[in-house]
Amino acid sequence: MSNETLTVRFFARLREELDTEALELPAEPGLTAGDLLTQLAARGGAWSQLQGGQPVMIAVNQTMARPSTRVQAGDEVAFFPPVTGG
């Protein structure tokens, strides 16, 4: 994992609909998890659902987080649908 990028992971329905398990994205200073969602939604198509679609849950370094959570180089950021285990 580079010092200038962070990893974004997708799970379950999102992983399937985006046809993507993980991405490396540039880790610009001051970036939040919400900024990442905005950037990704701008790709259009299935990616649009990341903003204004069904609820997306966020984890940063395997801990639940919010759109306002700051992210930085080396972080593991995950986006996924509301959980349904048990």
Partner: protein, 148 residues
């Protein structure tokens, strides 16, 4: 003890591990979840369970720690299966032992309710018509928020 695993588990062995927790144990409560024939869809004949490795174990450990702070919990064991499951298969086990039954019931139900809304597992129902990612239920969110 926490395990996320593809293979089946033996509730009798889990029960024994809880029972072997010393002479102060007076109550053991266990919950087991099974694959049911109707969920969001009818005539479900299997499930596929996906999870976020690493994070699931951390979240469950956090729930056990919280239960142990709130109630008298002498030992707790949680197993959650992932991958392909068939009708009536065991999905999840939560077992708690305590000196007192009230604490054992509360801790077991709390861990199970909180797991449903905070542990990163996702269930896909499989029927002869097709597959469907299960939606989180408002009822599950309400059950979980009772404990806040």
């Amino acid at each position: 003890m926490i395990s996320v695993q593809t293979h089946d588990f033996d509730p009798a062995a889990e029960y024994q591990a809880l029972r072997d927790s010393g002479p102060g144990t007076g109550a053991i409560v266990t919950f087991t979840g099974l694959v049911r024939d109707s969920g969001d869809l009818k005539d479900v004949h299997g499930l596929y369970l996906e999870h976020y490795p690493g994070m699931t174990e951390q979240v469950i450990q956090g729930l056990i720690d919280e239960a142990t702070q709130r109630w008298d919990v002498r030992r707790a064991r949680v197993i959650h299966r992932v991958g392909q499951l068939a009708l009536s298969d065991q999905i999840v086990f939560v077992g708690v032992c305590s000196a007192h039954r009230g604490d054992a019931f509360k801790a077991c139900e709390f861990i199970m309710d909180a797991l449903k809304t905070s542990a990163p597992f996702w269930k896909k129902e499989i029927t002869s018509e097709g597959e469907h990612w299960v939606e989180q239920k408002a009822g599950d969110r309400a059950r979980s928020s009772r404990w806040e």
